[in-house]
């Protein structure tokens, strides 16, 4: 079990906490130490918007071993309303044929995977169609 490693990411995975560059406004998710746009090292904490749209997507039919019981599942790049993009599964899709680029989604709290032989639940965000 990767306890420390998992807990380090909790503010992002559970609460969408990000950093905003105080000089140029670049939004870093996860937070960074240095802004890739203007090299500033000062960020203020913000919380991302949980609504956005699908930029692109795929349906994974062959997954890594730890996701093999979940297949097929949809995953996409989501652009949130504050323009920040992230990768998330698109949950609850009954008919994959109806998935489209541009569809509105909302991020929700979900179980993402199980860890190790004990199967400890690991959580985070997934998108659902709005």
């Amino acid at each position: 079990m990767i306890t420390a490693r998992y807990h380090r990411e909790v503010p992002q995975r559970y609460r969408l906490e990000a950093g905003k560059c105080t000089k140029c406004g670049y939004v870093a998710f996860p937070p960074r130490l240095v802004c890739p746009k203007c090299s500033t090292k000062k960020f203020k904490p913000i919380v991302l918007k949980d609504e956005g749209k699908i930029i692109t997507y795929t349906v994974i039919r062959v997954g890594p071993d730890k996701f093999s019981k979940e297949t097929p599942y949809a995953i996409g790049i989501i652009e949130l309303n504050d323009k920040l993009r992230l990768t998330a599964q698109i949950a609850g899709v009954v008919d994959f044929e109806k998935l489209k680029i541009g569809q509105k989604v909302k991020l929700v709290f979900r179980k993402i995977q199980d860890d190790g032989k004990a199967g400890i639940h690991m959580y985070g965000y997934k998108a659902v169609l709005a």
Partner: protein
């Protein structure tokens, strides 16, 4: 900086080499390259490999291979840049000779992928582990998302993607070292088992074992050894964000654009000067996007170009005459070196049935992850 030339090459057949270990295949390729170059000793060596730790539980490959090749105590370095490990290994050897630090250097690459590891999980370590892989993304998945975006933006079709696989199998069928030496049809590609929409199995490069090595040296040494030199006229490398979602465009690979810009400038050439190009077709869409980002076709026209046969041998710009990753195979760390070997054979006029007539300038484009690393070389044959 001194002029650097390639004077020898060797590779194993790519495929499921169950009877041979990672050491066996690397040493086989390296010995062939040393013999081909006709050199008695090498000053230094590089071993490109993406993830021998996960695939076979062996790291420290520089020393492992120097030991089994019987060349200790020379410096031996393992180079890792995901799927670009081979190309970056070649670049390190190039820089070491160009700088004057060494005269004869072996640049190699190897991967042993069929020894039982979870290959999908091992390959996924080239993406952002906490913010892409954690969510369940795979490498076919990342490139599939590029494909869907390209289809939406430019009207690229699955049939155009399939044309890439069909062409690469046609070329690979003529390559004795290729993993798959069989031709396939558009219908076979379209009807294959789905892996990650819009990719079927035949849109994806295979899981492979293999090794490749070349010998680089100075122009003076090549003359002394009476070898026909294939000159390295550009070596360029660029990086980009590790996560696909962090890039301003999903349909342009920034590291390819940036490395290409540097490479063309260094060689004093433009896209139309290139006689043939080996590109990193890990998935069919990759060849299409890269053929645009290298400047061979306008943005969005790569799919149509593949469908019209402009990238076939005899076309406007022959791409992946070796069969590419799709048909030749993709033992990750060996791929970048195998691309250089295809150029070496083509520019020496020794590519047999797949020879591009009069080929003089060849380009190799090797990338890692979903394009976070790209390394490009341009080679020139004798006039």
């Amino acid at each position: 900086m001194r002029d650097v030339v390639v004077i020898g090459a060797g590779m194993t057949k790519f495929g499921e080499l169950w009877g041979k270990s990672i050491k066996d295949i690397f040493v086989e390729a390296a010995l062939k390259a040393i013999e081909d170059a006709g050199v008695k000793q090498i000053d230094s060596m590089y071993v490109g490999a993406m993830s021998s730790g996960l695939f076979v539980g062996q790291e420290h490959l520089g020393a492992v291979m120097a030991d089994y090749l019987g060349v200790t105590p020379i410096p031996a370095t393992h180079v890792e840049s995901a799927c670009a490990s081979g190309g970056v290994s070649f670049r390190q050897a190039y820089l070491e000779v160009a700088s004057g630090a060494s005269d004869i250097v072996l640049a190699g690459g190897v991967e042993k992928m069929t020894d039982g590891a979870d290959v999908t999980e091992a390959l996924a370590t080239a993406a952002d582990q906490e913010y892409e892989v954690y969510q369940g993304v795979t490498f076919p998945g990342l490139y599939a998302m590029i494909a869907h975006a390209h289809m939406k933006e430019f009207g690229t079709t699955r049939k155009q993607l399939a044309a890439v696989a069909v062409k690469n199998h046609r070329n690979g069928a003529k390559n004795p070292n290729a993993q798959f030496r069989s031709e396939i049809t558009i219908d076979q590609v379209l009807n294959a088992t789905m892996v990650s929409d819009p990719f079927g199995l035949l849109d994806c490069s295979p899981v492979s074992d293999g090794a490749a090595a070349v010998i680089v040296t100075t122009m003076e040494m090549a003359k002394k050894l009476k070898k026909k030199p294939i000159k390295v006229i550009a070596s360029a490398q660029a990086s980009d964000t590790i996560a696909l979602h962090s890039r301003p465009s999903i349909t342009t690979i920034g590291s390819v654009v940036n490395a290409a810009k540097k490479a063309y400038k260094m060689a004093g050439l433009k896209p139309s000067d290139i006689d043939l190009c080996e590109v990193h077709d890990c998935f069919t869409i990759a060849e299409i996007v890269v053929s645009e980002d290298l400047g061979f076709f306008k943005k969005g026209e790569g799919g149509k170009a593949a469908e019209k046969g402009l990238t076939a041998i005899g076309g406007k710009i022959p791409i992946n005459t070796s069969g590419g990753l799709k048909s030749k195979g993709h033992p990750v760390g060996a791929t970048g070196i195998a691309q250089i070997i295809e150029l070496y054979e083509q520019l020496n006029g020794k590519a047999g049935d797949r020879q591009v007539k009069g080929a003089r300038i060849g380009m190799a484009q090797n990338m890692g992850g979903s394009g976070a690393s790209c390394v490009i070389h341009i080679l020139e044959g004798g006039k």
